[in-house]
């Protein structure tokens, strides 16, 4: 049966091509020549040809606006990813070396068997007065203080900063999970403001422009927000341990963290350029929205000492471990202390 054989050969060839296409995709993993121990001193010069993939879209824009971009792009390729779910997925695919996230993803990644380390941390000055999130209250739900949460339907997203915040709020209000109705709902895009406005939940943590939009749209129906009075200001750069064990990548990561520190400082010092270049041009918001975001963010705090941050993260871990049934891990193991002063020193050294 020559014809049958022809088709068999053809289909085998097709399958091979498909497989080859699958395997030929570019990876960020790279083949490490030697490995760098996690307690060995960091190399300070970035070797030629070192490349890291970084998911930190806002800093990418800041580097472009402040004229640092060309120096950084020699060893950095930017990916438009941020937030826990997307960055951990990309880490697993060996397609990313650094991601920009809040407090929870590094904990969750560790619990799911992905070994990561935090290499840079940013907080806010006067964090209680400049929270990232507020508790959105649905029209008609009578919640004025944290005590009023008893018996209410609250949007809860396990594995996200918003979910951990709700657990902290309940603890602060002296309530348990049994005293309220937690509605499991992932917080992506505008899901929470929509759930509030359609009264599917009574309370949900909303952040950024969503706060402004929610009040503007539904304020006349009785929508409101209240402050939770807790610190929710942590922002980190973190990456998989395998990237830190590659000497070339570790050097590139160190250089990027320094540039990142200078970029954060630049954002703080140039609000007008930042609003025009990032919020308006890159994100498609109005100037008023951008101004509102800048005012609400206050000023950044990039400490050269992480001990307080580690303490706060340990409290978060203890609370989450209790609520989710995961083992308690040591917060200090999540931080790569070799990077502790890199960003702060770069800022002190002054922007170029």
């Amino acid at each position: 049966m020559p014809r049958t054989r022809l088709y068999a050969v053809l289909s085998a060839a097709l399958a091979t091509v498909a497989l080859a296409a699958g395997c030929g995709a570019d990876k960020a993993g790279g083949d490490a020549a030697g490995t760098l121990a996690l307690d060995a001193p960091l190399p300070t010069t970035v070797p030629d040809g070192a490349k890291i993939v970084v998911g930190d879209p806002a800093t990418e824009v800041a580097l472009k606006l402040s004229g640092q971009y060309d120096a950084v792009s020699k060893y950095v390729k930017f990916a438009n990813l941020s937030g826990g779910p997307q960055t951990t997925e990309a880490f697993r695919a060996h397609a990313l070396d650094l991601g920009s996230v809040a407090e929870i993803p590094s904990i969750n990644a560790t619990w799911t068997g992905l070994h990561v380390k935090i290499v840079a941390s940013k907080f806010r000055q006067d964090p209680i007065g400049h929270p990232i999130y507020k508790l959105g209250i649905a029209p008609g739900a009578s919640v004025k203080t944290l005590g009023d949460l008893r018996g209410k339907k609250i949007a809860y997203s396990p594995g996200q900063a918003q979910g951990a915040l709700i657990l902290k709020v309940l603890k602060k209000a002296g309530l348990t999970k049994e005293d309220v109705k937690l509605v499991e709902l992932p917080s992506t895009g505008d899901v929470y403001s929509n759930a509030l406005s359609s009264k599917q939940v009574d309370v949900a943590p909303i952040g950024g422009v969503q706060i402004k939009r929610y009040l503007a749209k539904y304020g006349k129906d009785g929508a409101a927000t209240i402050d939770h009075g807790l610190r929710d200001d942590a922002g980190h750069l973190y990456g998989p341990v395998e990237s830190l064990q590659d000497p070339a990548k570790a050097a590139a990561i160190r250089a990027y963290v320094a540039a990142w520190g200078i970029a954060q400082e630049w954002i703080d010092k140039h609000p007008k350029e930042w609003i025009a270049g990032y919020y308006v041009k890159d994100q498609g918001l109005s100037e008023a929205d951008g101004q509102w975001l800048v005012d609400n963010a206050g000023h950044p705090d990039i400490p050269a000492d992480w001990s307080d941050a580690i303490k706060r993260q340990q409290d978060t871990i203890d609370l989450l471990a209790k609520e989710t049934g995961n083992p308690v891990i040591q917060a200090k193991d999540l931080y790569d202390l070799r990077f502790q002063t890199v960003a702060a020193d770069a800022i002190k050294g002054g922007a170029k």
Binding site: L14, A25, G55, A90, A95, S197, K217, G284, D289
Partner: protein, 278 residues
């Protein structure tokens, strides 16, 4: 004076009025008939928004969508995003069509090919692209190749299924004729199989073109810095409902337009068919 007395035919006498025979087909095509449905939809939307029966916050009014689209075009955001999306969709579509046709030929013309290929393709058909995405990211990373392959995987299935079906339903008379006149395998494919499977292929193509646009939303939420899907996702983050609806309208228009193009090709390529539609 009726002389005709064919069995089964009523003789027409001048005494009985003319009885028109009931039409069984749908009749003559309406002019611009294709536009009536969408226009009606637009009218309901406009009237609903104008009377306040549709809440602006839930669904922006058509004129808000138009002005927002105008702003986006003035910015250049809409064009650049549309261009990126179109490139991805077209590359995925082109590759998907080729793959679908080749697989349909292999599986349609050889029993062994069918035994090997058809099962896995039916399995793939049952798996939503959205659910495959995590795996595709693991295998292909987060670059452009992952996006194009996701679109390709969504597109080749309808092309394959309909082409395969069209090919298998070619009248055996033509196959016998081809054998009688001694056509080679390639000639047979070119002169009998491809034209015979064309109606099926074109129907598959109609599913495929809209499918390509649909896959875009899924893939453009991952590591994209441009594209209609990205623009909508960004607008979600900032609660800009009007931009989301602009995106939806663009998708609808693109789907309608590309479907129209395929239908035009259908009418041209299948003009030899005498069917209920013509």
């Amino acid at each position: 004076m009726s002389a005709t007395t064919l069995p089964g035919l009523r003789t027409r006498s001048s005494a009985t009025p003319v009885v028109r025979r009931r039409r069984l087909g749908p009749g003559k095509p309406i002019r611009f008939g294709a536009a009536i449905g969408p226009v009606l939809l637009l009218a309901i939307w406009s009237i609903g928004s104008a009377t306040g029966w549709i809440d602006q916050r839930i669904l922006s009014a058509p004129w808000t969508v138009v002005t927002t689209a105008g702003d986006l075009i003035a910015d250049g955001r809409l064009q650049s995003n549309l261009w990126t999306s179109a490139q991805r969709a077209l590359i995925g579509l082109a590759l998907g069509i080729v793959l679908g046709v080749v697989l349909a030929l292999i599986s349609g013309l050889s029993r062994l090919g069918e035994a090997v290929l058809d099962g896995p393709i039916q399995i793939k058909r049952a798996i939503p692209s959205l659910a495959l995405l995590p795996l595709l990211i693991l295998w292909l990373g987060i670059g452009e190749s992952m996006k194009v392959i996701t679109i390709l995987l969504g597109v080749f299935i309808p092309v394959y299924i309909h082409t395969h079906n069209g090919l298998r339903t070619i009248d055996s008379r033509y196959v016998e004729l081809a054998q009688t006149v001694g056509l080679s395998q390639w000639e047979f494919i070119r002169r009998v199989v491809l034209p015979g499977a064309l109606p099926g292929f074109l129907l598959g193509l109609r599913f495929a073109v809209t499918g390509a646009w649909l896959s875009l939303v899924v893939v453009e939420q991952i590591n994209s810095t441009s594209g209609i899907g990205y623009m909508m996702e960004l607008a979600r983050t900032y609660g800009q409902t009007d931009i989301i609806i602009v995106g939806l309208v663009v998708y609808g228009a693109l789907g309608l337009l590309s479907d129209g193009v395929v239908r035009l090709i259908q009418r041209r390529a299948l003009s030899w068919r005498r069917t209920l539609a013509s």
